[in-house]
């Protein structure tokens, strides 16, 4: 039986970056099979066109760029499924109602002063908590939120790709952002670890 040919240097580098790519694919897609598909397609595309990488500064940056395109393709193909699963669970509560408002619509207490953000933005642990909080969003909300914040798509493009009404999108993003705010408040600004 002939031995498998040894990996080229380029192939070995790609294989080594697979876990890194899976982390983002999982975070964005919230589905193991979808994530595996997107990452496999990314690595295959990179293997097929190694010359496209020549001269680029960072292999990682190049791969993430390809991954984002593969993920957008995957999201488009899955269409309604992307934002329909878990909707009933996602819908059960408006996070605004968890904030303290008086009957007349005014804040019952001052929102916390989060202090000097510069200090936090440079902090690895803060960014880790931020990512953990995004990971804890309900699946459909998390996908839509990261389409805005990681894929950096416009709201119009998200509606178009997923055949979603703007109202529906804005409700989900509103909830995702308030959940994220609450999570950061509890797990970072009030000093409790994410479990």
């Amino acid at each position: 039986m002939p031995a498998a040919p040894p990996l080229t240097d380029f192939e070995a580098q790609l294989v080594a970056l697979r876990p890194y790519l899976m982390r983002f694919a999982r975070l964005q897609l919230r589905n193991e099979t979808w994530a595996e598909d997107a990452v496999s397609e990314t690595l295959l595309a990179a293997l097929a066109r190694p010359q496209a990488f020549a001269g680029r500064a960072q292999l990682k940056t190049w791969l993430v760029g390809i991954l984002k395109h593969k993920i957008i393709d995957g999201l488009r193909q899955r269409g309604r499924e992307v934002c329909s699963d878990g909707v009933s669970r996602d819908d059960d509560e408006d996070p605004l109602s968890s904030m303290a408002f008086k009957a007349d619509g005014h804040f019952a207490e001052l929102p916390a002063d989060w202090g000097d953000p510069e200090q936090d933005l440079d902090n690895r642990q803060f960014l880790a908590v931020l990512e953990a909080c995004a990971e804890r969003l309900p699946p459909a909300q998390g996908r839509l939120f990261l389409m805005r914040e990681w894929l950096e798509l416009s709201s119009e493009d998200i509606c178009k790709e997923l055949d979603l009404t703007p109202t529906n999108l804005y409700v989900q993003l509103h909830r995702a952002r308030l959940r994220l705010r609450a999570c950061l408040e509890i797990h970072w600004f009030a000093g409790k670890p994410v479990t």
Binding site: P19, Y20, R23, F24, Q58, K60, T61, V64, L96, M99, F101, D104, G105, H106, F107, E109, L110, P111, A112, D113, W114, P117, Q119, D120, L121, D122, N123, R124, Q125, F126, L127, A128, V129, L130, E131, A132, R148, E149, W150, E152, S155, P166, L169, Y170, L173, H174, R177, L178, L180, R181, L184, E185, H187, W188, G191, K192, P193, V194
Partner: protein, 93 residues
């Protein structure tokens, strides 16, 4: 006394507008109402600063995750987060 104040918004409404602004352009009337409310409210500007911090934090996260030292999943950092936070909050003696 004005029986109808088309530009008056409650904190709850302003909070929703501040969040909505992250994902869509607000109509001019809402932008104006927002500014008027911010000028005379102590609570909403704080909420607005939180939302701006989150916006910048997501940008910092995007850049950080492409850096060379961002290979490890941040899960490993979580246990350290509290220590870091405690250290930051420790009173200076």
């Amino acid at each position: 006394m004005m029986p109808y104040m088309p530009l008056k918004r409650t904190c709850r409404e302003v909070t929703a507008l501040v969040i909505a602004r992250e994902d869509r352009a607000l109509p001019w009337r809402e932008r104006l109402a927002l500014r008027l409310h911010m000028a005379m409210c102590a609570a909403c500007p704080r909420f607005e600063r939180q939302v701006l911090t989150m916006r910048r934090a997501m940008g910092a996260w995007r850049n950080y995750t492409l850096e060379a030292d961002a290979d490890e999943p941040p899960a490993q950092d979580r246990a350290d987060a509290r220590d870091a936070r405690d250290a930051r909050d420790a009173p200076t003696r």
